[in-house]
Amino acid sequence: MKIQLPDEAERSSLDGLPEELLARMYHRMVLIRRFEKRVNELFLQGVMPGTIHLSHGQEATVVGATSALRADDWINLTHRGHGQALAKGVPAKTLMAELFGKVTGCCRGKGGSLHIGDVAYGALPAIAIVGAASPIMTGMAFAFKYKQTGQVACNIFGDGAVNKGDWHEAMNLAAVWGLPVVFLCENNLFGVSTHISDVTLNERLAERAAAYRMRSTTVFGNDPVAVYRAVGEAVDRARSGDGATMVEALTYRQGGHKRDDPATYRDQSEVASWLAADPIPAFRDRLLSETRVGEGRLSELDAEVESEIEEAVQFAMDSDEPPTAVALEDVYADQA
C-alpha cells in the first residue's frame, strides 16, 4: 500500500508568521542537516565511536513541532534523536561531545548517540526502546497538571511505536485523565526495514487516536509550518486544560535505519518522490518566494551553521575522555 502524501491544498500558509520565526526554523533545519552530515563523515572516518541513526529528511517535523513549544515544555528524544535535541535547543557542542563519548558531553559521555539529551532544555535524554517514552512523557504531563505549571509534554515517537503496548497504554491514560500531552508521530514510513503498510492497516496512523476518543490530525511532516500550526493548536489545547492530541507528521528517512543499512528494501519510486520533497530546499525556496527573508539572510544563516558545527567538532575533539571513575557514578541519586 502506498502512503499518499497530503496534497498541496492541505499545505500551510505562512500568513501571520513573523519572519524571525521562519528564519529561525530554517536555521534549525539546516543546523540539523549539516550536523548530521558532519557526524556521518566523522563516523565513516572512524573518528567517532558507537552507532548512529540519522534523521536526514525529517528535520521539518521536529523543528516545526519544537517551534510551537515553550522553552520549559518538554520533549523526549528517540533513538533517532540528534535532530530532536538540536531542535529543542540543546547546544551542538555538548551534543557533539556526547557523540564522541567525551566527559564534556551532555550526558558526561555515558549516553552516546542513543541516549543524548539535556534536561536544561526540556529534552529528556533519549530512550532507545521504541514506544517506551510514551508513558514517561504522559507521566510528566501528569506532574504538570497536578502542579498546575502550565507546561506541556510532547511525546515524539516513530511509526513503529504505534504497535507497542506502551504507546497504547499511554494514549489511553493521557486521554482518560485529560493530560497536557501532544503525541507527535514522526511517521517516516519505516521501522528499520519494515514499511508501515506491511504491518498496519490504518491508512493514517492518526486514526488510532479515535480509539481513545483523542483528537488527532495528519500533516505533511516535510513542511515545518504545517507541523508548527498543528502542534501549536494541540499545545494550546493542552495548556488550556483541554487534554491530549495526536499529531501524525508524514515524513521520510532519506537514508537507512543506521549507518550500515543501505536500505535496498525500499521502493525506488517512493524514495525518488520523497527525495524530491526534501524539506530544506523546499522551505528555502518558499522563504525566498513568499517572504522578505532574502538570499543574503539565508546565506548568513548557512554560514552561521557551518561555524557552529566546526566549533562543536573542535570542542568535542579537544575534550577529555571521561575519567574511568565516572563509570561508577550516577547509578543512584545521593550516591556517595
Partner: protein
C-alpha cells in the same frame, strides 16, 4: 511498666497505611496510584486512602502496568514522589522494561541529570494462589543496578522503612510477603501484629538486625523466612543449639558487614530465602562471605531456598517447595554436625 501508648500493636498493613498517610500529609508531591486502590487494593494497603485524599492524589488506574509505571517515572522526573501500588508484585513483569530499561537507567545514561523517586508497593511470595501469583519478586530485580529493594518482616520495620522509601530519591521496590500484611481477602486481621510507636520515625536502608542472638550458627533470612528462621531457632534452642538470626531488612543495599561479624563469631552460616535457589540473593551473600571470611568458616555455607520450579497450587505441594522451619532446622544441624538430625 510500659504504658498502653508505648505498646501499641499494629499489623504490617496498618503500619504501612499510617506511613503512607504521614508522608502524604507532609509532602504534597506524594501520590498513590494503582489498580482498584479505591477499595484498598489486594492487601488493603490503600484502604480508606481515596476517601481521605480524593481523586487527585489517589489514582485508580486501568489495568495498564506498563502505562502507569512509566507514568510514575515521568512524574517522578518532574519532582513528584509517586507510590505505585501493585495488587500482586507478579504483575511487575508486564512493566519490566519500564523499570529496568528506563527507570533504573535514565539517571545513569543521562550522566546524573534526573532522579526517579518512585516506591513500588509489592505483595510478594507464595500464598496458595498458584504459580503466577507467587513470585519472590525481590530476586528478579536484585541483579539490576539503580534500584533499592526493601523486604520488611515486622510492622515496626515496615513503617520506618516505608517512610524512608518515600523520601529516597531512587526507585525503591518495597516487597512485603502476602502472608505478612495482616489482611485476608477484604478483611483486616488482628494477627501478626507488632509494636509500632505513635511518634513518627524512619529506619535507614542497609542496616540489618540481629533478631536473636546465638553463638553456634548464623542464619540469615528475610521477610516471611525470617519468621520461619525464628521458629527453627526456638526449636533448636530446645536441643541446646543457639542460633543467631539476622534479618537484613533491605537486600539493596545489603548489610554484609553484620553477617560477616556474626559468621566470625559462629563459624557457620545458613542463608534462607523463599525464591528459587538458582541465582538468589543468598548466592551473592554466600560468595561475599566466602571471599571475605572463609577462614572463619567451620562448615560449608548452606542455602535453604525453593527448588528451581514454579510454585505449584496444591497446598501440600506448595508447602513442599517453599522453605519452612523444618528445612531450616535440618540445614542448621547439617552445618553443625554433618547430619540432618
Amino acid at each position: 511498666m510500659p504504658t498502653k501508648r508505648e505498646t501499641r500493636n499494629l499489623t504490617i498493613v496498618q503500619a504501612l497505611r499510617e506511613a503512607v498517610r504521614e508522608e502524604m500529609d507532609s509532602d504534597p508531591n506524594v501520590v498513590v496510584l494503582g489498580e482498584d486502590i479505591r477499595i484498598g487494593g489486594s492487601f488493603l494497603f490503600t484502604l480508606g486512602l481515596h476517601e481521605q485524599y480524593g481523586d487527585e492524589r489517589v489514582l485508580n488506574t486501568p489495568i495498564s502496568e506498563t502505562g502507569f509505571v512509566g507514568l510514575a517515572i515521568g512524574a517522578a522526573i518532574q519532582g513528584m514522589r509517586p507510590i505505585v501500588d501493585f495488587q500482586y508484585s507478579d504483575f511487575l513483569f508486564t512493566a519490566y522494561d519500564q523499570i529496568v530499561q528506563e527507570g533504573s537507567k535514565l539517571r545513569y545514561m543521562s550522566g546524573g541529570q534526573v532522579s526517579i523517586p518512585v516506591v513500588f508497593q509489592m505483595p510478594t511470595g507464595a500464598s496458595g494462589r498458584g504459580a503466577q501469583h507467587a513470585n519472590t519478586m525481590e530476586t528478579f530485580f536484585f541483579h539490576v543496578p539503580g534500584i533499592k529493594i526493601v523486604t520488611p518482616a515486622t510492622p515496626y520495620d515496615a513503617k520506618g522503612l516505608f517512610k524512608t522509601a518515600v523520601r529516597d530519591n531512587n526507585m525503591v521496590l518495597f516487597c512485603v510477603h502476602k502472608h505478612l500484611y495482616g489482611s485476608k481477602g477484604r478483611k483486616l486481621l488482628d494477627t501478626g501484629t507488632g509494636h509500632v510507636p505513635e511518634e513518627p520515625y524512619t529506619i535507614p536502608f542497609g542496616e540489618g538486625l540481629i533478631r536473636r542472638e546465638g553463638a553456634d550458627v548464623t542464619v540469615v533470612a528475610n521477610s516471611l523466612m525470617m519468621h520461619r528462621a525464628l521458629e527453627a531457632a526456638e526449636e533448636l534452642a530446645g536441643a541446646g543449639i543457639e542460633v543467631e538470626v539476622i534479618d537484613p531488612r533491605t537486600l539493596v543495599p545489603f548489610d554484609t558487614d553484620l553477617v560477616l561479624e556474626s559468621v566470625r563469631k559462629t563459624g557457620r552460616l545458613v542463608i534462607v530465602e523463599e525464591g528459587n535457589q538458582r541465582g538468589g540473593w543468598g548466592a551473592q551473600l554466600a560468595a561475599d562471605v566466602a571471599s571475605s571470611a572463609i577462614e572463619y568458616l567451620d562448615a560449608p555455607i548452606s542455602r535453604v531456598a525453593a527448588p528451581d520450579v514454579p510454585i505449584p497450587f496444591s497446598p501440600v505441594l506448595e508447602q513442599a517447595v517453599v522453605p519452612g522451619a523444618r528445612g531450616i532446622v535440618d540445614a542448621v544441624r547439617m552445618v553443625l554436625t554433618g547430619y540432618q538430625s
